[in-house]
């Protein structure tokens, strides 16, 4: 390919990228009030708590118990529902991840000093997570529902949530008023 074609292609790609990056994203912009509104609740992993229900639904025992009495069409339908539920649950975990990641960026953006190593690490983890998530999604789309792995992931999320919420609480709790100040009448 001749150099002018290469540069023309580069130029059009650059224009497309810049247009996409300059496109206003009102919902996703960091508001100045947002940092003031940081609360421990931001760190709650909302989808983890649904895991017992999801596990019950995903478990193959119920189908096995019924044995051959279930018609094939119903069996297929139940399996399809299970996969749908697994996909929804995975999507929920992704939401939890993205919220946590956004929280990390928010804290970094509003800090007077950031550590390049930690920022690079978060970027790397984010890239890896997106690749892995895509692969798990493909696996689910192919009809595999790894229930024990889902359970393991959920337990891990729950225990980490508790630790981080404790750290967050210590930061956002208002300082107690000085003992000498009398606010009474």
């Amino acid at each position: 390919m001749s150099p002018e074609l290469i540069f023309a292609a580069l130029g059009f790609i650059a224009l497309a990228v810049v247009t996409a990056l300059l496109w206003p994203r009102h919902g996703k912009r960091l508001g100045h009030a947002e940092i003031a509104a940081l609360a421990p609740e931001d760190l709650v992993l909302r989808h983890v708590k649904y895991f017992p229900l999801v596990r019950q639904a995903l478990s193959g025992a119920d189908l096995a118990g019924f044995g051959v009495r279930i018609p094939r069409s119903v069996r297929r339908k139940v399996r399809a529902e299970r996969h749908k539920m697994a996909r929804n649950y995975l999507e929920g975990l992704r939401e939890d991840y993205l919220r946590l990641e956004r929280f990390g960026r928010l804290v970094a953006a509003h800090s007077p000093k950031v550590d390049a190593r930690l920022e690079a690490q978060r970027m790397r983890i984010g890239a890896r997570f997106r690749v892995t998530y895509s692969l798990v999604s493909i696996r689910l789309a192919l009809g595999q529902v790894p229930v024990p792995a889902f359970e393991h992931m959920t337990q891990m999320l729950g225990s980490m949530a508790t630790r981080l919420e404790a750290a967050m609480s210590s930061l956002v709790e208002p300082a107690p008023p000085p003992a000498s100040v009398n606010v009474g009448a």
Binding site: F7, V107, M156
Partner: protein, 273 residues
């Protein structure tokens, strides 16, 4: 070589448009808020007037015209870099932690691109315009690369330019991309035609005209967008963000990363199970 009628037409439209944008920028007080943008507009306007006078005196295809043209282009290019620096500073300055990280990243990106430009242009023969065209082409690519790096950093941390700055950045990108493609095409065509001197003069004259037209028309479009933007009142300056205590980052960031990493690890296990 004389100035072609189409070049005359572009200059007749372009020069007043440049002046209008400049006047509007001063009227909106941008020389206080965006001094390098105002300097960039002045540099462009001065370049147009200066080259107009030079070409009228010494002709379009003369060596003096060639040297003046590329000197003026170098000044405009420097003004473009300063403007990108100004946009970076305006986007990130309030976020001191991110700014301290980002300016280093932008410096590394620009150094890498500039080094590549130096190596690339050095491999071209130092005859006529091929060396200069290649250097200019690669420096435009550098400007685009730095601009994209800046916008990516802004997007990653959820920071956005305001509507005036967005249009300025978009205009800069269009300028840079158009010049890059025009220079790449011209450098390649020149290198091809230089092998045969027969008919080179006539070819160069014809090509030069279209090369100028190709660069000027998008410039007119960008100037029109800038004029329309500055015609309306410019928004007030953004309020400074409330920064967290330094302890917050030290406490939370490693915890967040640890959690993200573990979550990613589990997802990987999910994949392997």
């Amino acid at each position: 070589m004389h100035i072609s009628p189409i070049s005359y037409a572009i200059w007749i439209v372009g020069a007043p448009l440049e002046m209008l944008v400049c006047v509007l920028a001063f009227r909106r007080g941008l020389h206080h808020q965006l001094p390098f943008f105002t300097a960039y507009l002045i540099a462009h306007m001065a370049k147009t007037s200066f080259l107009w006078a030079v070409y009228r005196e010494v002709g379009f295809g003369s060596w003096a015209g060639y040297e003046c043209s590329w000197t003026a282009t170098a000044v405009a290019l420097a003004a473009q870099y300063l403007l990108i620096g100004e946009l970076s500073y305006r986007l990130l300055r309030a976020y001191t932690g991110i700014w301290a990280l980002a300016w280093r990243i932008l410096l590394v990106v620009s150094a890498a691109f500039t080094l590549s430009a130096a190596i690339d242009s050095a491999t071209h023969p130092y005859r006529l315009a091929t060396f200069v065209l290649t250097l200019d082409r690669d420096l435009r690519l550098t400007a685009v690369g730095v601009l994209i790096a800046l916008l990516l950093i802004g997007r990653y941390y959820g920071l956005e330019l305001d509507h005036v700055e967005r249009r300025i950045a978009a205009g800069l990108c269009v300028y840079a991309v158009v010049d890059m493609i025009a220079n790449a095409t011209m450098a390649h065509a020149m290198a091809t035609h230089l092998t045969s001197w027969i008919g080179y003069g006539a070819w160069a004259q014809q090509t030069q005209v279209w090369w100028n037209v190709a660069r000027s028309l998008p410039s007119l479009a960008v100037l029109s967008v800038w004029a329309a933007t500055l015609w309306q009142p410019v928004l007030a300056a953004r309020p400074a963000p409330a920064l967290l205590p330094a302890m917050a980052y030290r406490e939370l960031s490693p915890a967040v990363n640890f959690r993200l990493k573990a979550l990613n690890g589990r997802l990987l296990e999910l994949l392997k199970s």
